[in-house]
């Protein structure tokens, strides 16, 4: 087996991440719209939870302050993840992937790098909105010491989210239109990832299943650290996201190779 040129690939992937950063920054109107949408979503959810939350706590979480802090983080991550599946679908369906195959870095690694670059820009630009929600709303403010972990987990959780959507995009080798696979993945992320409420509110059996799934690694685990910034939860969160990044990366690589073989054998 030939040794892989890791360092050039890493440099190339970082270069693609810069593409993502530059391309995202060039669409200022879209970024502004996304920031305003985030504030709108949080305004609605704040109103919802302050209205319906008659209890002061549930499942160990203070209401509505804890829930709002949690949702502020999950929405921050979810709205920061670009639609990599659309780019994969377009490139595979219309043959643009061929041009990318002629570059000396792996296509999928480059696309994920580019998407992570775009995600970092969005996370940064939505963070003022996150600050506004946490400081001025009804939500609780996480302790300062937890913030480094929260930010790192948001980036890693967003990466898990990207890999999950990339799986939907790679289905384009076989089904051409990825919208169905994407919608299934999106709903699984929202539901089993605990977008609107922590999975701790679910029935025990579902909560256990969700916590062990990759969907929770994208949203639940980064956000729960806001409510439970103790060391064991932080360690568990990092372990969960790292494990799923590795597992999903291997799965994406395997599906990509199967699709690539089909492409190289049969052409576009």
């Amino acid at each position: 087996m030939k040794p892989t040129p890791l360092w050039p690939w890493l440099r190339g992937t970082c270069a693609m991440a810069r593409v993502g950063v530059a391309a995202t920054l060039s669409a200022r109107t879209v970024l502004l719209g996304r920031a305003l949408f985030y504030l709108l979503v949080m305004t609605v959810l704040t109103r919802f939870w302050t209205t319906v939350a008659h209890e002061t706590s549930a499942a160990g979480i203070t209401l509505p302050a804890g829930i709002l802090a949690y949702v502020a983080i999950t929405e921050w991550i979810a709205l920061s993840v670009p639609a990599i599946h659309l780019r994969l679908e377009d490139d595979i369906r219309f043959g643009a992937v061929e041009a990318h195959l002629l570059r000396p870095i792996p296509y999928l690694l480059g696309q994920i790098g580019q998407t992570i670059g775009a995600m970092l820009v969005r996370l940064a630009l939505l963070s003022p909105g996150l600050g506004v929600v946490l400081l001025t709303g009804e939500s609780m403010l996480p302790p300062i010491t937890a913030w480094l972990s929260i930010i790192a987990l948001a980036v890693l959780g967003g990466t898990v989210h990207i890999l999950l959507i990339a799986l939907a995009g790679l289905s384009a080798f076989w089904v051409r239109r990825t919208v169905a696979a994407y919608l299934v993945m999106q709903k699984a992320i929202f539901l089993l990832g605990g977008l609107f409420i922590p999975v701790t509110f679910y029935p025990d059996w579902l909560a256990r299943f969700a916590r062990g799934s990759p969907f929770a690694a994208s949203l639940y685990w980064p956000a729960i650290v806001v409510l439970q910034p103790d060391q064991s939860t932080v360690v568990m969160a990092f372990l969960a996201v790292f494990a799923w990044i590795v597992a999903l990366s291997l799965l994406c690589a395997a599906i990509w190779h199967a699709g690539l073989h089909r492409l190289l054998t049969q052409g576009i």
């Binding site: 190339g12 693609m16 530059a22 643009a96 061929e98 002629l102 792996p106 049969q266």
Partner: protein, 324 residues
């Protein structure tokens, strides 16, 4: 050592036949299409070769196999000593590829930024890269375009940028798939001149596919004609013209509104008043005899003698290949 070696290259595509019913869904029937039926050729370093043929002949299939983005069904090929489909990424560092119909630059980014990213992707050192970029930018007149997003450029401007992008990492071989498609005459001429000049200064090996015979005439010194997956002709451009067409085109301009020249081996093409265009079969009629006969009519103001357009040469080759 040759730059490109192809030995008995074959490619067969397999498609599921469309059909109705559950039976077709469970056990679809397949049909095989032979895109390449065993082609062989060698290209020396620095050679500029046109790979031409009618639609579906196998040109793009050959190009894709040589660049490593398609697996052959049989035979072998090497480009710069590497097997393209096995060493695709290593080969990518040493070849440049331009697809006329598929953009490779990032459409939303300014041209300069796209080039800067290519430097990192190809792991080029900053100083020599900057020098090369300046030289190419000057030759291809890209200075006014550098700050513009690629998606704001005209097609001709974009193609100039695409060609420069393919040359920035100093490739040894340049593959061009229909590089002038969709361009106006001025833009085509510009691209051809620039490719020629760059190929000569860098000693580039060039492989070009095109339906435009002027691309072949003005850029390439050798032509490989592919038809139905097989090579029908592989010759120098000039030899091809002389071998396949024992004809000359004689254009006469006269004071008289019409010229009639009735000679064996000479036929008149439709032309405007005061202009006569004569097709001369040089196997039957000698050119000096035809010119002498025209001059004897009197009133001839201008005579032009030229080879027939390459388009007619190619047309004749296709016709001969189809008749076999």
């Amino acid at each position: 050592m040759s730059a490109i070696t192809v030995r008995d290259l074959r490619k067969q595509f397999r498609y599921a036949k469309s059909g109705r019913g559950l039976r077709n869904l469970i056990a679809p029937q397949y049909t095989n299409i032979d895109a390449l039926g065993g082609i062989s050729f060698t290209i020396a370093p620095g050679e500029r070769v046109a790979l031409i043929g009618p639609n579906g002949a196998g040109k793009s299939t050959t190009l894709k196999i040589l660049t490593g983005i398609l697996l052959p069904s049989g035979g072998n090929a090497t480009v710069l000593g590497l097997t393209p489909w096995q060493d695709r990424m290593a080969l990518a560092r040493r070849i440049g590829v331009v697809f006329g119909q598929r953009p490779q630059l990032w459409s939303e980014l300014p041209v300069r930024q796209s080039f800067a990213l290519l430097r990192r992707i190809y792991a080029q050192d900053a100083a020599p890269f900057a020098t090369r970029l300046d030289a190419l930018s000057e030759r291809f007149d890209l200075a006014p375009l550098m700050a513009q997003p690629v998606n704001r450029l005209s097609l001709g401007q974009r193609m100039r940028c695409e060609v420069v992008a393919s040359l920035l990492h100093k490739p040894d071989v340049l593959f061009l798939d229909e590089p002038t498609i969709g361009l106006d005459i001025t833009a085509k001429t510009t691209i051809r001149d620039l490719i020629n000049a760059q190929a000569q200064s860098d000693g580039l090996t060039v492989v070009l596919t095109s339906h435009d015979t002027r691309d072949i005439e003005l850029v390439c010194e050798r032509v490989i004609v592919v038809n139905a997956g097989r090579i029908v002709v592989d010759q120098a451009t000039e030899t091809l013209r002389r071998r396949f067409l024992a004809r000359k085109l004689v254009t006469l301009r006269s004071a008289a509104p019409a010229i009639t020249l009735d000679l064996p081996g000479v036929s008149a093409r439709p032309a405007e008043p005061h202009i006569a265009m004569l097709d001369v079969d040089t196997r039957i009629a000698r050119i000096d005899s035809v010119v002498a006969a025209a001059l004897s009519l009197g009133g001839i103001e201008d005579i032009t003698i030229e080879d027939p357009p390459m388009e007619e040469v190619i047309h004749e080759i296709y016709a001969a290949a189809s008749a076999r």
